[in-house]
Amino acid sequence: MNSQFIAFFTIFLIHTNLYAASMQYDMRVDGLACPFCAYGIEKKLLKTEGVNSVDINIEKGIVIVKTKIGVSFSEHQLNQLFHDAGFTYRSMKQRELR
């Protein structure tokens, strides 16, 4: 699961469109019921190329990912990413960081 997760994320980053800005994604995720899970997904995201920082609010079930400059994700890609990691992705808000 881990290797699939990282490989998938790395491949799509190589093919993704490049932007001049970094991005912030606020994602609502089901299944974040304990710190173990939060730490687990945080570790996986931080290992992924293009991810600059990860903040997790367990209480609200929200994962906030900030990317490095020029990296963006599509909603489909994020959906697949969380599915592969064992979580149910619900929704996403995104904005550019300048």
Binding site: M1, N2, A33, C34, F36, E59
Partner: protein
């Protein structure tokens, strides 16, 4: 008709055991210490906690260190400072102490770190992976009277055990396989071992406790009806149990993390009482639990970055 009556009788009798009454008064909160920060005595998401002699050791998880206190919360020392690479910790979780050695589940580094009770680094066991002897997110650790080390290998869905020299002896559960049957786990979070070498596992996402003998047979389990992954807030039920400890009396204390409470049981799983902060606040105010010989119960409050000290009602 007779079968129907017997079935109803069976369900009624079982239903009584599924909703047990409180047998003891709840414990009383007498002290908290800590608060958010990285200074000595402060915490950033404390998790594991263990009592040894006159000290309380707290896994200060996001600060990547263990902090040692006396029973009144006076800071003694920090263990696992980041400037020494081999003794580094990253998201330390549940811990245990046996024979003057502190065993730490080093969650992000996929290993168990072993220190002396005074904080000197001794050695590491494990490394990342799912092969025998490797871990994927070790979350809890216990040591039996022979010095064998049992590790809850959270993301690998198994318990691995080693001898005192770190040689792999075997595992419980199937690597990477989640299930509700007795032989499987669903993200095991912690372990405790009693004087009879019975292994108590908090089977986290199955919302139950499993008791396993030293031949690997499950001899008891509890947590909701039939202990088959039915979660809830009733007495004796769980929502993601995250830590377990056995008192000298043999009684079992479980941190029922998503229910914001500690539950106390007899050694065979009979519910006795529960206690914790108000459920109206944030979740995860009771993630780790330890018991002193005098009956005081120390609890890590992940949400408020503090340690709680509770005592039996009649001792207040």
């Amino acid at each position: 008709m007779r079968k129907l009556c017997l079935s109803i009788l069976f369900l009624t009798l079982n239903a009584c055991s599924w909703f047990p009454a409180q047998q003891e008064e709840p414990y009383q909160l007498i002290q908290t210490w800590g608060g958010f920060g990285d200074a000595p005595g402060q915490f950033n998401e404390p998790f594991g906690i263990v009592v040894y002699q006159n000290s309380v050791y707290v896994a200060d998880s996001r600060n990547s260190r263990i902090q040692q206190f006396d029973f009144n919360g006076k800071f003694i020392r920090a263990i696992g400072p980041p400037e020494i690479k081999k003794s580094q910790l990253d998201r330390p979780m549940n811990m245990t102490i046996r024979n003057d050695k502190l065993y730490v589940a080093d969650f992000w580094n996929d290993r168990v770190q072993i220190f002396s009770s005074a904080g000197s680094f001794i050695k590491s066991v494990g490394g990342p992976g799912d092969e025998p002897g490797k871990f994927n997110g070790p979350s809890g650790v216990a040591v039996d009277s022979n010095g064998n080390v049992y590790v809850a290998d959270f993301n690998n869905q198994r318990i691995q055990y080693f001898n005192a020299n770190g040689k792999t002896l075997g595992q419980l559960g199937e690597t990477g396989e989640v299930g509700i049957s007795s032989d499987k786990f669903n993200y095991p979070t912690d372990i405790a071992i009693d004087k009879n070498k019975l292994i108590y596992v908090t089977d986290g996402y199955n919302d139950r406790i499993k008791v396993i003998d030293n031949t690997g047979n499950v001899i008891n389990k509890w947590g909701g009806p039939l202990a088959i992954n039915l979660s809830g807030g009733f007495n004796g039920w769980f929502r993601v149990p995250s830590s377990i400890v056995i008192a000298n009396s043999g009684e079992i204390f479980v941190a029922d993390s998503f229910n914001n409470r500690i539950q106390k049981f007899t050694s065979n799983g009979k519910f006795l009482t529960s206690f914790g902060l108000s459920t109206k606040g944030p979740r995860h105010t009771t993630v780790g639990v330890a018991v002193a010989n005098d009956g005081s119960v120390f609890v890590t409050d992940h949400a408020h970055h503090q340690v709680q000290k509770w005592v039996p009602h009649d001792r207040q």
